[in-house]
Symmetry: C2
Subunit: 126 residues, 2 copies
DNA sequence: TCGGATAGGGAAAATTTTTTCCCTGTGTCA
DNA sequence: TGACACAGGGAAAAAATTTTCCCTATCCGA
């Protein structure tokens, strides 16, 4: 993948979880696969802002950790599907809790971001 | 902080949560502060592998998002303490769920990591 | 036969995050 | 007075992650 120069320490579970679903699009893909989006091309269309390359890389990492299973159908135009493993499914409550919390904060968060973007609104108007 | 060139999209709650506690040490600091480790120097001693600089930066971001409150005591040698806000406390169940899941996987995870480190054990022995 | 869909890898560039190094101050203890 | 504790910032380097670009191969339909 890439040889790390700074060794990571995995003393707390957080660090482990982050290693597994901390990638930019990983948790979203776990979501999508759970929802039934299985084929690589479908996933790519579902996350158009992600580069095709990284989706592949991160799917492979999820597979490496046993979160998803990659099934190759020996068909004419090659077909591949990803499925959550039982282990991967055990992640769903966690991922769902994370998403719910984030969604709850979403409104305030966006307001905060806009305030950050426009730091001096007083003089800007009229 | 740093001007991003690639705009982030926060359509799903996951992305929001990641923005807030996705930093390398952020979730751990939320933990520690919740446990009662309050002062910057204490936090730095608790996470010696993190650079002092990043801990400060990430604490400020947590403060910016309203997760922690920074209290400065106007004392002789300056003293600062961080506290979880009520909002920050609402993160605890999520962070705890994340940590628990990761801890449950820890054993298998370490085994996997070691296997990755030593890819060809057969020829190496004797 | 050409174009597009399928699936994917390699290399290098760009971007983002984290670290390292050096700097400011005040106060306490020896 | 010198060393160390406290708290922290700026700049640049290093590290890590993600994107971009180009490549292979097969099959289907026009």
């Amino acid at each position: 993948m890439y040889e790390k120069k700074i060794p990571k320490s995995f003393e707390c579970g957080m660090a482990v979880l982050m290693e597994i679903i901390g990638g930019k699009w990983k948790s979203y893909m776990v979501f999508l696969i759970h929802k039934g989006v299985r084929r690589p091309s479908e996933l790519q269309r579902a996350v158009p802002s992600a580069s095709r390359r990284v989706l592949n890389l991160q799917l492979r990492e999820l597979e490496f950790h046993g979160i998803v299973k990659r099934v190759i159908y020996p068909e004419a135009p090659p077909r591949v599907e990803y499925f959550l493993t039982e282990f991967g499914t055990s992640l769903m409550p966690v991922v769902t809790a994370m998403d719910n919390w984030g969604t709850g904060y979403l409104g305030a968060f966006k307001a905060l971001m806009e305030k950050k973007q426009a730091p001096a609104p007083a003089a800007a108007m009229q």
